[in-house]
Amino acid sequence: MSMIFGVPLAVLSGQLLIGVINGAFYALLSLGLAVIFGLLKIINFAHGAMYMLGAMATVILFDVLGVNYWVALFLAPLLVGVVGVIIEYFLLRRIAGQDHIYSLLLTFGIALLMQGVLTNIYGVSGMRYSMPDLFQGGMNLGFMFLPYYRAWVIVIALVVCFGTWFMIEKTKLGAYLRAGTEDAQLMQGFGINVPLLVSLTYGFGVMLAAFAGVLAAPIYSVTPVMGSHILITVFAVVVIGGMGSIGGAIITGILMGVIEGLTKTFYPPASSAVIFLVMVVVLMFRPAGLFGKEA
């Protein structure tokens, strides 16, 4: 078997694949965070909980109503998005315009509450969700085995990420959004319903997290605490990319997944810490992050 730097090629490419998949999740989640932070200046500590909610909803919808994967892919994010809009309307709106720190503390409380309640109902042991039949198996690429589902996750995550980036940076709706957060009063004057826009933006950011949750349901263990584990890593990704930078979040997310995968191959003990290490190094040289603007 061919070796690269003393590591079998199949092992290396396997870890790289896992890295790209994790990176796809990081990208989706940090993208949602970046949208919410960049446009609303809310630091959303409830983001991990929303991701968890998406995955839990997928499992529960299947168990209770027999809703299949494809319907869940639309329905679960939609439901979580509605939850997000409700949270924005009843809670976050009250602290709009105040120190960002309050949004962090408030969403942290919301996350604790949601995670705690679901833990009491469903316990912390992982729930099972079987893969749709279409994705059983995989193909042999010669140097590695690529499961179909994993390929699908990578492709769909990239499509959604790019679509979001395109919508915010290149379309008229995106322009409204960016303008509305720059100068809400002026936009109101043009007859645009800014509070509605803000609610929908939060809902959309949260939907991205829930969408990642649905994608995660067949491959990761679905538990009420799954969000709290990934959240801190995703925050590190956002800091590395530069907070509020949409493109930065996507690129950094995938990059960090790959770096993590490589570390797992060459020096496993450091794999869980490597992203935070990268963050420290990046901050020493570029305090605003790789793609962030210096404040």
Binding site: I43, G109, I110, L112, L113, N120, A273
Partner: protein, 331 residues
């Protein structure tokens, strides 16, 4: 006779007023200290020590957040570093007296605080919080994977030993008065810091950093020093905690602990001296009472609810709200 507006008189009146208020405060503090001294005869000393350790942790955090305006989301790292260091030293070197172990834990937490501060000081507000969070996460991973911490199981059976090689700390009452003395010392220290010219600069940084810069203060140096002092006190709290419970665990390093100390400070009243103490007492009690009753499994969601409620409705916390009430109705 016309009324005189002699500035000297006005100044005198203000000073007089201040004296009366200071005296009131002194009396309040005196009563509180007496209560603390008498408390172990009414309540279980170990529980009281738990409150004191967390109160010290919250006081340390509040120096940074409440008075300087820097939200560190990584203070668990200092608590855990203090705890693990002291635990490791006291367990492995029997010649070491307890206070030496505690001092060593505090010293290491202080150094770590310096490293954190130098790395994070260039960022502000929310970015600062994120950086400290990630740094603390690095420390967490270090403790998870190190052999000496006992990983997920934690470090057990840390000996309490003898204070100065003389006073037996296995005795709960002796231990309690030692913890109380350290706590009061630190509380007074923070009080001194806050009311000193240095503390005034910290407050001015919190209010308006650009203004402090334009007044010619080297703001970053002040912030770094505040961070280091806060980290040192947090480390001391962790060191004492590991001696009191004879245990150091990963819980103390987890980012939830960083969140909890924020909650304590916020609930008690950030930016007030007594607030964090009241907040720590409140949160530790809520956790304890809930864990005894039927709501055992609902601690986390209830804490979450308290978080939401505090941010939305009682942002100045218990002490802050009382102060406001007193000012409005009795002042």
């Amino acid at each position: 006779m016309s009324q005189s507006f002699n500035p000297a008189d006005i100044q005198k009146a203000i000073l007089e007023q201040q004296k009366i208020e200071d005296r009131k405060k002194m009396m309040l503090n005196g009563v509180l200290v007496l209560l603390l001294v008498a408390a172990p005869f009414v309540m279980y000393p170990v529980f009281l020590m738990k409150i004191l350790c967390f109160a010290l942790f919250a006081v340390a955090f509040n120096l940074l957040f409440g008075f300087t305006g820097l939200l560190s989301f990584g203070h668990a790292a200092f608590l855990a570093t203090g705890g693990y260091t002291t635990g490791y030293l006291l367990s492995n070197f029997s010649g070491l007296t307890t206070e030496m172990g505690i001092l060593a834990g505090t010293a290491l937490a202080t150094l770590l605080g310096l490293a954190f501060a130098l790395l994070s000081i260039r960022r502000q507000g929310i970015y600062f919080a994120m950086v400290t969070l990630a740094l603390a996460q690095l420390v967490f991973f270090f403790f998870v994977q190190s052999e000496f911490t006992g990983g997920e199981d934690g470090m057990h059976g840390i000996p309490r030993g003898h204070l100065f090689g003389l006073i037996n700390l296995e005795n709960n009452l002796n231990m309690y008065y030692f913890v109380l003395a350290v706590f009061l010392g630190c509380y007074l220290l923070v009080q001194r810091i806050v009311s000193s010219p240095y503390g005034q600069v910290l407050k001015s940084i919190k209010q308006n950093e650009p203004r402090a810069i334009s007044l010619g203060y080297n703001v970053n140096r002040y912030k770094v020093l505040a961070f280091v002092i806060s980290a040192a006190l947090a480390g001391l709290a962790g060191s004492m905690k590991s001696v009191v419970f004879q245990l150091a665990s990963l819980n103390d390093a987890h980012w939830h602990m960083s969140g909890e100390v924020i909650l304590m400070t916020l609930v008690g009243g950030m930016g007030t001296l007594l607030g964090p103490v009241v907040g720590a007492t409140f949160v530790v009690n809520v956790e304890y009472q809930l864990s005894q009753g039927a709501l055992r499994d609902w601690v986390d969601p209830i804490l979450g609810g308290i978080f939401i409620l505090t941010v939305l409705a009682f942002r100045s916390g218990i002490v802050g709200e009382i102060q406001k009430f007193v000012k409005k109705n009795l002042g």
